[in-house]
Amino acid sequence: MSCECWLGSGPVHVPSREKPPLLLEEVILASVLRENCSKVVKILRVLAPLTKYRYVKRIKPVVPQLVQGSQASNEDGMMMLEVVVCTIQRREGGGWLSQEDRRNTKGEGEGLWSKVPPSLKAELAPLVKALRVGHVPALAPEDPDQWEDWNQVWPVSYKIPPGKVAKKSATIEVGEDERRKMAAHLGLARDLAHRTHNKGCRNAAVIVNPETNEVVAHGVDETSSSSWGGGEDRTPHPLRHAAMVAVEKVAEGIRAWAAKRKRDSELPQDEPYLCTGSDCYLWREPCAMCAMALVHSRVRRIVFCVPDGERGALGGSFRLHALESLNHHYEVFRWPLDRRVVE
């Protein structure tokens, strides 16, 4: 079983949540000469604040050719800007259009003025060249990549959430060196799983310290074993899933370390806290019990091969690592098997 071709092309990051898609909000845009811009914005700030859309920038410089031929064309050769007046649905900022109105106005022309609240119209009309229907992103961008993309639609601002480190991307890329290490550990998990069960694939878990690339502990599914918990001839234990067994072995290691530490004061003061910072390689996607056990153990990352679309807790039936209330979150990768192996 030493052939390397059993793994598919590479690990797939299983994000704790999908990035929200780009949703658009219809808005009324006003073409304004640059010199009038600050006046317009001042008026809007009072009469039509973008409360829910704080991330939307009010102004966008217009590239002349984009408005060629329309009423907003830059005939004076002066710098023209576009400004968000209000949303079309009656939400923030007042004015709105019914479906029918929208069809009639076709996004152009004087008809739109009737959709702007009268008080706003009175103040704005002298300063605005033309109105049109446009779009802004309906949600704030969640990461720098999204911010870049969504800026193509309309300028938006991106705020790094307080206390969170901005991620370059919601998808974590794995480098070549790391992939090789991953594949090796998955290979061990696979061999352990196969060795212990000739019929199908029982599960195996390998816990690795990524800083040293050393295997800290490994365990296989022992649900049909009668020796567990330091005793022999016991009732087989239905909860002895591979991850539970591996976590227990790590704990044994720490207890042994702590006992040694008592005798040997040369050892460092701090004992490892559970499986903090370690990676867990599993042959099969863990169930809810095991996935949560690995949260309790503060594992840094989980990598598995065989998904369980019905009962798996890391993308199969749900995504445990997406539950925000948990006090610890690990990252999850699935490395699909090569198609030929699956068949």
Binding site: N209, D221, T223, E271
Partner: protein, 230 residues
Amino acid sequence: MAPATTAPHREDPPATTSSEDSLFTDRERGFMRLALAEAEEAYEVGEIPVGCVLVRRGEVIGKGQNRTNETRNGTRHCEMEAIDGVLIGFSQNSEERQSREAMARFWDEVDLYVTCEPCIMCAGALALMGVRTVYYGCSNDKFGGCGSVHTVSADGCGKCGGGDGSPALGFDCRKGLFAGEAITLLQNFYIKGNTRAPKPHRKHLWRDRRLEQAERDGEGGGDRGDGLVE
């Protein structure tokens, strides 16, 4: 081990019965009192104060306290301790050990009384064992597997080892029995501080960058929202 300290709540007479408590029978209340006693013992040895008893045919067949600190194993919640105890107790030639059906019938008559809502892991474990009903005190807003955070109690749990492939079904839940007492114990514990949970300044051999993050984000003190709570 941490020196034994008396839980402050003990100075007061038992809290008065809340309206929720009166929805339960005297017998059920009696079993939850036993679970609370387990939790108090855990408190006194510096463990997160959650306790439980397993009851079958009106008899306590197992009990457990959280032992995550002592064992250095974050999965040793009281439910796991109690289940292990029952399994170890089966004699070599008991009927249950002879047939899978007898074992299933056995657990289908078992109820759990636990002071705090089982976490997602324990709810999965209880589904895998096939217990009948889970009575719990307070809800567990961070980790609860019986509806607070996820619904393992209703959905059941997979068998990620493969096994016979059949998924484990869910179980019934009844909540709110002596919730106040359970919460008081936990609050006292966290006021005292979980001595073994990592301190913000403490370095780990396997330092998790996200841990530091959690400590920065953590509400009310770095070592409080410890994952070892059921």
